[in-house]
C-alpha cells in the first residue's frame, strides 16, 4: 500500500485516497463543436503508460481535496505531488525508471524480474 504525500495534510496511507485517473485531461471548452471521435477521446480514452504517469488523486477520507501526482507505474514509485493549479512538471527533473523499451522491466522494483532477455 503506497504512502502519498497530500499537499495539504502530509504523508498518509493510500487507503485514505481514491485515484482519479489521468491528469491534465482538459474538458473541451465548447463540446458542441467537437466531433463524436474527439468527444469519445475525452470521455473514454486515457493514456495507460508503463513508466511516468501523470495522475489525479483525491484525499477522499481526509481533507477531500484533489491534487495531481507523477508516478512510475512500472515500480509504483511516487515521484512528485503537486496542486491542481500548478502546471505539468517537466520530465527532465524527474527520476525515471528509464525503461529501455516501452513494455520493458525496470532494473529494480518490478514484480516480474523473471522476464529475462537471455
Amino acid at each position: 500500500m503506497l504512502i502519498i504525500n497530500c499537499p495539504y495534510c502530509g504523508p498518509r496511507e493510500q487507503c485514505e485516497f481514491t485515484n482519479g485517473g489521468e491528469a491534465h485531461v482538459a474538458r473541451p471548452s465548447d463540446p458542441e463543436k467537437v466531433s463524436d471521435k474527439e468527444w469519445s477521446e475525452y470521455v473514454f480514452f486515457r493514456s495507460n503508460p508503463k513508466g511516468i504517469y501523470f495522475e489525479r488523486w483525491v484525499h477522499s477520507h481526509g481533507c477531500k481535496k484533489w491534487f495531481n501526482a507523477v508516478r512510475d507505474t512500472s515500480t509504483d514509485k511516487v515521484l512528485k505531488v503537486y496542486e491542481i493549479k500548478d502546471e505539468k512538471p517537466s520530465l527532465a527533473d524527474l527520476e525515471n525508471s528509464n525503461l529501455t523499451t516501452p513494455s520493458g522491466e525496470p532494473e529494480v522494483g518490478s514484480g516480474n524480474f523473471t522476464v529475462r532477455k537471455i
Binding site: 495534510c9 504523508p11 498518509r12 487507503c15 477531500k64
Partner: protein, 172 residues
Amino acid sequence: MKNLISSNSVDIKELNLNQILVRGLYTPSLNKQIKSQFKISLPQNNLQINQDKNIICSKNSFDQWSIILFQQLEFEIDNAIAKINEDEKILATNYSEGQIYLEISGENKISILNKITHFDFREKHFPLSTSAQTLIGRVDCNIYNLGNRLLVTCNRSFGDHLKDQLIDAIKF
C-alpha cells in the same frame, strides 16, 4: 456529557457540542466576521488549531474551517451562521447535531487507537494543536490534538459503529 468507558487508563467521554463548518477562501472580512461572532481568529496554515477558553477553530484545508464551541446555546449559533452567510462567497453550515463528539484521554489512548486506525499519531506527523481528517475503524473522522486529550468527531449515523469499536479495542 456522558462517560462512555474508562478502564486500563483510557477514558472516553461523549460530549454535546456545537459545530460550524465554514467553506470559502480566506479574506480579512471573513476573519473579521468570525472574530466578531466567536472572539477567535481563523488559523493561517493548514491543519492548525486556534484555541480559546471554550472554543477551537481549525483549518481543515485551504478553503475549509471548523469551529467547535464547547458551550453556546443553539439559537445564537443560527444567527451567527445567518450573518456569515450574508457574504455570497462564503458557505457556513450548522454541523452541531449531525456529528458525535468523543473526548479520548488517558495514557494508553494512542496504543488503543493504534488497534483500529492506521493513522500516525507521532509528534512529527500530528503535532500539538493541529487537526487531521482520517479513518478510524473504517469511519471518516476528524481528530483534534488538544494535548493530553483528543477530540474525535464523526457523522452521527456512524457513531455507534465507532464507539463500539473503541470500547472493544479497550476491553479485548
